[in-house]
């Protein structure tokens, strides 16, 4: 893996970042653990989807769709595994695979380092992620999952806001270019 390389498209200069060894694995595991334990002590923390934020961040940073979707798949399957019996393996996996792919694809075309861009993209990805979850539940599980609720909008805003700060922390895991 190269440390850094440039993608030049239509005069756009975008960096592809590499991370310290084990950073992705550590961050993913940490997010999953927090996602599992935080709601126990802080029930309102259940509104966060830390695995999704990790998927979005590494997708935007790595900017490789294949890597992004595989990472999204792995994180989603792990999240499915840690979820209750009502969540079959693949429910979050599919959604996060798509999000990983989209984030990597968009990250390869846009500058996603700016906090505002990160906020907007995370908000959008969160909505798409929930839409994919709802679609899967409706089609495969025959569960009447609503497409949009106010809670979803709030959750999207909260996650986008958290993502801005979380991504700054994760930026520290990058190898210096």
């Amino acid at each position: 893996m190269n440390d850094t390389f440039d993608i030049r498209s239509s005069e756009l200069h975008i960096e592809v970042h590499k991370f310290r060894a084990g950073a992705i694995i550590f961050a993913t595991a940490f997010a999953l653990v927090l996602q599992a334990f935080l709601p126990i002590y802080f029930p309102k923390a259940a509104i966060l989807d830390l695995p999704l934020l990790i998927t979005i961040y590494f997708g935007l940073s790595r900017r490789n769709p294949s890597t992004g979707l595989l990472l999204g798949m792995a994180i989603g399957i792990l999240q499915d595994s840690l979820s209750g019996p009502t969540v079959p393996l693949g429910l979050y996996g599919i959604a996060k695979t798509v999000i990983g792919y989209l984030a990597s694809s968009i990250g390869a075309r846009l500058d996603t380092e700016h906090p505002a861009a990160r906020f907007a993209l995370t908000f959008a990805f969160f909505v798409v992620h929930q839409g994919l979850i709802a679609l899967t539940r409706r089609l495969l599980l025959s569960q009447p999952e609503p497409w949009f609720t106010m809670h979803l909008a709030v959750a999207a805003l909260v996650n986008a806001l958290v993502a801005v700060f979380l991504f700054l922390l994760l930026d520290r895991l990058r190898r210096p270019s």
Binding site: P65, S66, L69, L70, M73, P88, L89, I94, V98, L140
Partner: protein
């Protein structure tokens, strides 16, 4: 992924990964009525092909049966034609046997009605080789007690008389022969006149004067017994036509027996009178008389060849 552009490579990868997870989901999800979702999907994916395959095979089979298998049909047609011919022949044989059975039943009934009259049942085995003479051959002869000048009858009436008797066969001169004759009388008027043949299908009643008004068309004629060949009151025929002649009337008589189609006949071994045919009808039938002694002198009906 070799040969695919890199931007498409990730798309294919995305599709594959999502598909795999969909399958993973399908394996886990269970529909209450239809089992696991993967089974539902598999059945749903396969059944259209199965239906199409079954429909296609059915169509091909129909096409084959209706068009390409016609050569077999042609062969089957030939076989069916042969079978049809054989069956027609069989039907004809069965009809003939049924007719024969009816005829034999009538003979048996006649025989049982006249159990006390010695007679021999015989089968007609040939006709005279000379077309100018009306004669038949029977399968019974001297061994069965048949002698010359014995009367031959059927349940319908007089047939003729035995003119030659051989060891196992005998020759009978039919009533229609021009040299044949029988003593007869009119049933109603009891006028006795001979009836003879002319070599034609109809008989003639002889020696009835032109002045005799007691003879009319439709009158029935029976044997008179005067010839000492036939007993009295055996049906001879029915008058069909009467014309005045130079001295005697020309009276044509239709034979009571069907002399043109004879299969089985009875040869009378005696002059003992038979029961009248009228009394032998089913409605007026009487139990067989005569008993064992008569039966012992009368051979049974001939067996079929």
């Amino acid at each position: 992924m070799v040969g695919l552009p890199s931007r498409h490579r990730s798309l294919f990868l995305l599709g594959g990964v999502v598909l795999l997870q969909l399958l993973l989901l399908a394996v886990q999800i269970r529909r209450d009525s239809q089992g696991r979702l993967i089974r539902v999907w598999t059945v749903g994916a396969v059944s259209p092909f199965e239906r199409a395959g079954a429909h296609g095979i059915s169509h091909i089979r129909e096409t084959w049966n209706h068009y390409f298998a016609l050569q077999n049909t042609s062969r089957e047609n030939e076989e069916l034609k042969r079978e049809n011919g054989a069956l027609k022949l069989q039907i004809t044989q069965l009809q003939s046997k049924a007719s024969e059975a009816d005829r034999l039943a009538a003979l048996l009934k006649f025989r049982q009605t006249n159990m006390d009259v010695p007679m021999v049942a015989a089968r007609v085995i040939g006709w005279s080789a000379d077309s100018t003479s009306q004669a038949i051959y029977l399968d019974r002869g001297e061994r069965d007690g048949i002698r010359r000048d014995m009367g031959v009858i059927t349940p319908d009436g007089v047939v003729g008389k035995v003119i030659e008797s051989y060891k196992d066969t005998s020759q009978v001169l039919l009533l229609t022969d021009k040299d044949s004759g029988v003593g007869a009388m009119l049933v109603d008027s009891r006028v006795q006149k001979p009836v003879g043949g002319t070599g034609e299908p109809l008989l003639v009643m002889k020696y009835v004067s032109n002045e005799d008004t007691s003879v009319n068309p439709g009158d029935r004629i029976v044997t008179s017994g005067i010839d000492r060949i036939f007993p009295r009151d055996l049906p001879v025929g029915t008058i069909t036509d009467i014309k005045p002649g130079s001295t005697f009337k020309q009276i044509r008589v239709r034979p009571a027996a069907n002399l043109e189609r004879l299969d089985e006949v009875f040869v009378l071994l005696t002059m003992k009178p038979l029961m009248k045919k009228d009394s032998a009808q089913p409605n007026s039938a009487t139990p067989p008389a005569g008993g064992p002694s008569a039966a012992a002198t009368s051979p049974a009906l001939p067996e079929k060849p």
